[in-house]
């Protein structure tokens, strides 16, 4: 655990000095966006990997945050910094209101409901005046790539830290996993699933909203087809699934791999942008079939299995443990 903390701060420290060395705007932009996707992937995994609820509408929180910042800045004259907390709170409030009824649904029903709700919100943004309808909204350009680099980094890092504290260090993650495994059974052990699920839903929504707010000001133009598109959820989902559900590092690694791949692909093969969709889709499908634990989950599973094997042999080979079963434990 201490090594993990060290690695975390090392990573943050390394990232923090990147702008001092890299002046290339393209690279800065890419890394900034990577932070955003890390944030989206890990928050999506709170519901999917930990609680076992596939939220097909996660992107709506992101979009809600983006529109909050855009509307507050353009229509109410707020400064950017002041809009971010509101973007997060509003996304959280949306999660609370939508979650209370929606989280009663299970499995596929929940997936379809969140998906329908997110698409409804996209349609709503298309017809409302305040959002600018299909024309979207333009924000005042603020051309400081380094500024956005640090803001995204900070929000992604704080999100990661918060989730790590709650899900891995404190007991909240274990409670969520118990609910994922057996909701009715968890009730007998003193857990109130409805409340815990709502807490998780809000927890996953707030950072997504803040990230959306930053994105709006950074890109300076938003419309329903960009910030409310289902591709946002799709991509976060691919990253999390590919990296490994139910872990915190899995989605981070998944985000790094998938996003790097996407960037290289778009940079060098610009003519074949739709090919990216094929590859994205095939990667999800293949991951589900062959690596259901994702790359990180599979890797740690194997390490755990080996450790268990070594430990089993060192301590008491006759104890009748089955080392290979260590691989089943998924954290």
């Amino acid at each position: 655990m201490r090594r993990g903390i060290f690695a975390f701060w090392l990573f943050i420290g390394l990232m923090a000095v990147v702008p001092a060395f890299v002046q290339n705007a393209f690279v800065l932009r890419i890394v900034t966006e990577l932070f955003m996707w890390i944030g989206l992937a890990i928050t999506w995994d709170v519901m999917a990997g930990y609680a076992g609820y596939l939220n097909f509408g996660h992107g709506a929180f992101f979009g809600a945050g983006a529109y909050t910042t855009a509307i507050l800045m353009m229509r109410c004259g707020w400064t950017f910094a002041a809009t971010l907390p509101v973007a997060g709170l509003l996304a959280g409030l949306a999660a609370l209101l939508a979650g209370i009824p929606t989280l009663r649904l299970k499995g596929a029903y929940f997936a379809i409901a969140t998906w329908a709700l997110a698409l409804a919100i996209q349609q709503l943004a298309l017809v409302l005046d305040i959002t600018g309808g299909p024309d979207g909204m333009r924000l005042p350009p603020f051309l400081h790539p380094v500024f956005f680099f640090y803001v995204m980094l900070a929000v992604a890092a704080v999100t990661f830290l918060l989730l790590w504290l709650l899900l891995e260090r404190a007991s909240f993650g274990l409670k969520l996993k118990a609910i994922r495994e057996d909701e009715a059974g968890a009730m007998a052990l003193g857990l109130n699933p409805a409340r815990i699920k709502i807490q998780a839903f809000v927890l996953s929504a707030v950072p997504a909203g803040v990230l959306g707010g930053i994105y709006a000001f950074w890109i300076t133009f938003i419309d329903p087809a960009s910030v409310l598109a289902d591709i946002i959820t799709d991509q976060a989902m691919v990253m999390a699934v590919f990296g490994g559900l139910g872990t915190l590092l899995g989605p981070v690694i998944g985000a790094i791999v998938v996003f790097s791949f996407k960037t290289l692909f778009w940079a060098y093969l610009a003519d074949y942008q739709v090919l990216y969709l094929i590859i994205l889709g095939v990667v999800i499908a293949l991951t589900v079939v062959f690596l259901p634990n994702g790359i990180w989950g599979t890797l740690t599973g194997q390490i755990q299995a080996r450790n268990a094997l070594i430990k089993g042999m060192a301590i008491d080979p006759a104890q009748g443990r089955h080392p290979e079963q260590g691989a089943d434990s998924n954290d």
């Binding site: 007991s171 409670k175 996993k177 495994e181 057996d182 007998a188 052990l189 003193g190 089943d328």
Partner: protein, 241 residues
């Protein structure tokens, strides 16, 4: 007279037209073991589900330490001190044995660190210690039943509801479980136990409640109940069928 830990008062539970539990009343005194028996489908599990909050009673009331708990949700009852096992065992298959128990330990020990230590103690006590790091899915039936008990115990309950925790075990394992149950009783935990194996019920219960088709057909000391012609008929009727 002191208030019993559990008082079931005229409880009815109907599923549509079927009265799975029909007007059942009994008490569990402090530190007592009460056996609940009856042929298959008699309504034993259903009354457990009513007591532990999974079903609200259609009529009648349930009192825990004197206060009316009918209709309270299971998690509230778990917090109040009612632990239960499930006849169809409910492990969290993807979690380790230790984590399974930790979930329950969190109820009284909210800090993860304390919960882990507490869960270890429970596992040592129930004899699952060596399997602590294995996935719950890898346990065989006896192990799963033991895990059920461990989880219920980790709630530090005052009342323990055990639904067929002995059934399906081989004689050695059965004896170990019975020993465990008696130990718990000696610690002051009140126990309501469902079991088909008469030998078990008759040996350890202070009181026996007999259900048949949802009706309570007998209530009393084990020795009296086995002599009760109505009970004999209910059981013989089943065996003859």
């Amino acid at each position: 007279m002191t208030e019993p830990i559990l008082r079931v008062d005229g409880v009815v539970k109907a599923f549509g037209g079927l009265h799975a539990v029909n007007d059942v009343s009994f008490e569990v005194g402090k530190g007592m073991i009460v056996g609940l028996i009856g042929p298959n489908g008699a309504g034993k599990t259903t009354i457990f589900n009513v007591i532990s909050g999974y079903y609200a009673p259609t009529r009648g009331r349930v009192f825990f330490k004197g206060s009316d708990i009918s209709g309270l949700p299971p998690y509230a009852l778990a917090k109040m001190g009612i632990g239960r096992t499930f006849q169809v065992v409910k492990p969290f298959p993807g979690l380790s044995v230790l984590e399974n128990v930790m979930v329950a330990s969190l109820c009284r020990h909210p800090r993860k660190h304390d919960a882990r230590r507490h869960a270890w103690d429970i596992l040592e006590f129930t004899g699952l210690g060596p399997r602590a790091h294995d996935a719950a899915a890898s346990l065989t039936l006896p192990g799963r039943k033991r895990l059920e008990i461990s989880k219920a115990l980790a709630l530090e309950p005052q009342l323990l509801l055990l639904d067929e925790v002995v059934a399906g075990l081989n004689p050695t394992e059965a004896d170990r479980t019975i020993e465990l149950i008696l130990k718990l009783r000696d610690q002051g935990i009140s126990i309501l136990i469902v079991e088909h194996i008469m030998r078990v019920i008759m040996n350890i219960s202070d009181q026996v409640v007999v259900l048949n088709f949802g009706q309570q057909i007998a209530l009393g000391k084990p020795v009296e109940v086995v002599k009760d012609p109505v009970v004999i008929e209910a059981y013989l009727g089943e065996e003859a069928a």
